[in-house]
């Protein structure tokens, strides 16, 4: 299969990811069902509300489908809510998550919306990006994953083989380097 990036479109800013993907000439589609997931080589889980998406993934069984794709080494990237959804553990919460990344995340780690902000962050392998943090989570335990970006001493991006998680939203900045890197670099882990 050629490269085709699915963006989970249960809820959230999936349209922003699609726009970023189209702008770099990637083939991309919205994913709401297992059939649509079958058409993808890569998957992005966008920003949004993790409780909402978690409940709907559980209710319609799509969560298990994503877990089985991850085991088959599909490259998967979660931004903000997406990273929470991919985490094995969520602090102070029993909410549903997919348990793909061996990390513990803390939700709303910087506080409510009035504390949302943007800042330059160095991402290993990519360079400096403007990171937009919106009611963002941080990684409080990196487990067996590799921390690839920190802000103010806190881990805000991790990588584990074919999996990538970022606390921030590259899809909101118009800077597509992370999207390109995800497709190429994380995508190559699939074959590695």
């Amino acid at each position: 299969m050629g490269t085709r990036v699915g963006v989970l479109a249960i809820q959230g800013d999936f349209a922003c990811h699609l726009k970023a993907l189209y702008s770099i000439g990637a083939s991309a589609l919205e994913v709401r069902t297992a059939e649509e997931l079958d058409q993808c080589s890569h998957l992005i889980i966008p920003g949004g509300e993790s409780t909402t998406v978690g409940k709907l993934l559980q209710r319609f069984g799509l969560g298990e489908e994503i877990q089985s794709r991850a085991r088959a080494r599909m490259p998967i990237w979660g931004t903000c809510m997406g990273m929470i959804m991919m985490a094995a553990r969520v602090e102070d919460s029993e909410q549903y998550s997919l348990g793909l990344l061996d990390i513990t995340v803390k939700r709303n780690a910087f506080g409510r919306q009035v504390h949302s902000f943007e800042a330059p962050v160095q991402v290993e392998g990519v360079g400096e990006v403007t990171a937009v943090f919106i009611r963002a989570p941080v990684v409080t335990d990196v487990g067996s994953t590799q921390a690839i970006a920190t802000f103010d001493g806190q881990v805000v991006a991790v990588r584990q083989d074919n999996l990538l998680g970022t606390s921030f939203h590259p899809e909101l900045t118009g800077d597509t380097r992370l999207h390109e890197w995800f497709i190429k670099e994380i995508g190559s882990a699939q074959r590695g």
């Binding site: 959230g12 349209a15 009035v114 403007t130 939203h169």
Partner: protein, 314 residues
């Protein structure tokens, strides 16, 4: 200071409406949160128990209120910002964003809501207006605002004042979707007219819509409002929610429709699912089954001009 790069919604800051970069700096975070709420349902709640039911059903945010619009309508009198204590109780009970309403033009209520760290302020016609000429200068706040609109001009005037999200007004507290449809169709058809106009006609369109030229030019270029466009006012069933989504809403607000129905938890869950599967009639049929009685509702035609909430705002 970080440079403002191109934004995904194609909205560079409208010249003349933004006075300094400190204000501009928060813009991407404000509209960004609105982007995160897309494809979801925002529910009115009056206490922590309701908020938990809403969160459990899959709401993307709750609107903390003392009374739902149907009760505000019934009780009459002056409707004001909610008691901060109630807002804090609701904030403590859920992890999803909590919104709250201030009166149109009441910037001190807005300051109080910002101090409470609500995630979004709705400068709402559902409450009694505090200013019959001016809306709140929303650029002056760090917290994002949502405002109601009935047509393109009204929507763009609110954007110029700094609204990070527009919702069509509909007619709150009626359970009658007719006004929500009217307002959504008005905004989207006016957008299409602006989009198809010649560039040299945009000056007159700005005059006719009583909206800033820069924002009319933005609509002409992109075919969209500069900020996400949600829908509110009269949505009572999964079919109503899916109707608004098919018409072009990016998320729906459900006010009285849930907690004035006979089985709120069931209905809340069904409306969330109907927004996810808004184009799939077979799934919608399944979702709409056995939800108990919807809110009784008021036919909008039976309301007098004085009883209409949607005419508030200028």
């Amino acid at each position: 200071m970080f440079p403002l790069g191109p934004s995904p919604w194609g909205f560079s800051m409208p010249a003349g409406t933004i006075l300094n970069l400190d204000r501009a700096k928060t813009w991407r975070e404000k509209v960004g949160l609105a982007e995160m709420l897309k494809g979801g349902v925002i529910m009115d709640v009056v206490n922590a128990d309701h908020a938990k039911i809403a969160e459990e059903a899959g709401a993307v945010a709750v609107m903390a209120l003392e009374r739902v619009p149907a009760d505000i309508r019934r009780d009459g009198g002056v409707a004001r910002m909610s008691d901060p204590e109630l807002i804090q109780q609701i904030q403590a009970s859920v992890t999803i964003p909590v919104m709250a309403k201030c009166r149109i033009g009441h910037f001190v209520e807005a300051q109080i809501l910002e101090a409470l760290e609500v995630d979004f302020i709705d400068e709402s016609e559902v409450l009694t207006p505090a200013d019959v000429a001016n809306h709140v200068d929303k650029h002056a706040f760090t917290v994002p605002f949502v405002c109601g609109a009935r047509n393109l001009g009204e929507a763009l005037r609110r954007c110029a004042e700094g609204a990070a999200m527009i919702r069509t007004k509909g007619e709150a507290g009626t359970g009658d979707v007719v006004e929500a449809v009217r307002h959504m169709r008005a905004i989207l058809s006016e957008i299409r007219i602006v989009q198809n106009a010649r560039e040299d006609e945009l000056y007159v369109l700005a005059k006719e819509h009583q909206a800033p030229l820069e924002l009319i030019q933005h609509v002409h270029k992109t075919g969209k409002l500069p900020v996400p466009n949600f829908s509110a006012g009269g949505i009572a069933t999964p079919a109503d929610a899916a109707l608004m989504m098919q018409l072009g809403a990016e998320t729906v607000f459900v006010g009285s429709g849930i907690f004035k129905s006979s089985e709120p938890a069931k209905r809340a869950k069904a409306i969330v699912e109907s927004v996810l599967f808004y184009k799939d009639a077979k799934k919608l049929a399944e979702i709409s089954k056995g939800l108990g009685e919807p809110m009784t509702g008021i036919n909008c035609d039976s309301l007098t001009e004085k009883e209409l909430l949607s005419v508030r705002g200028w």
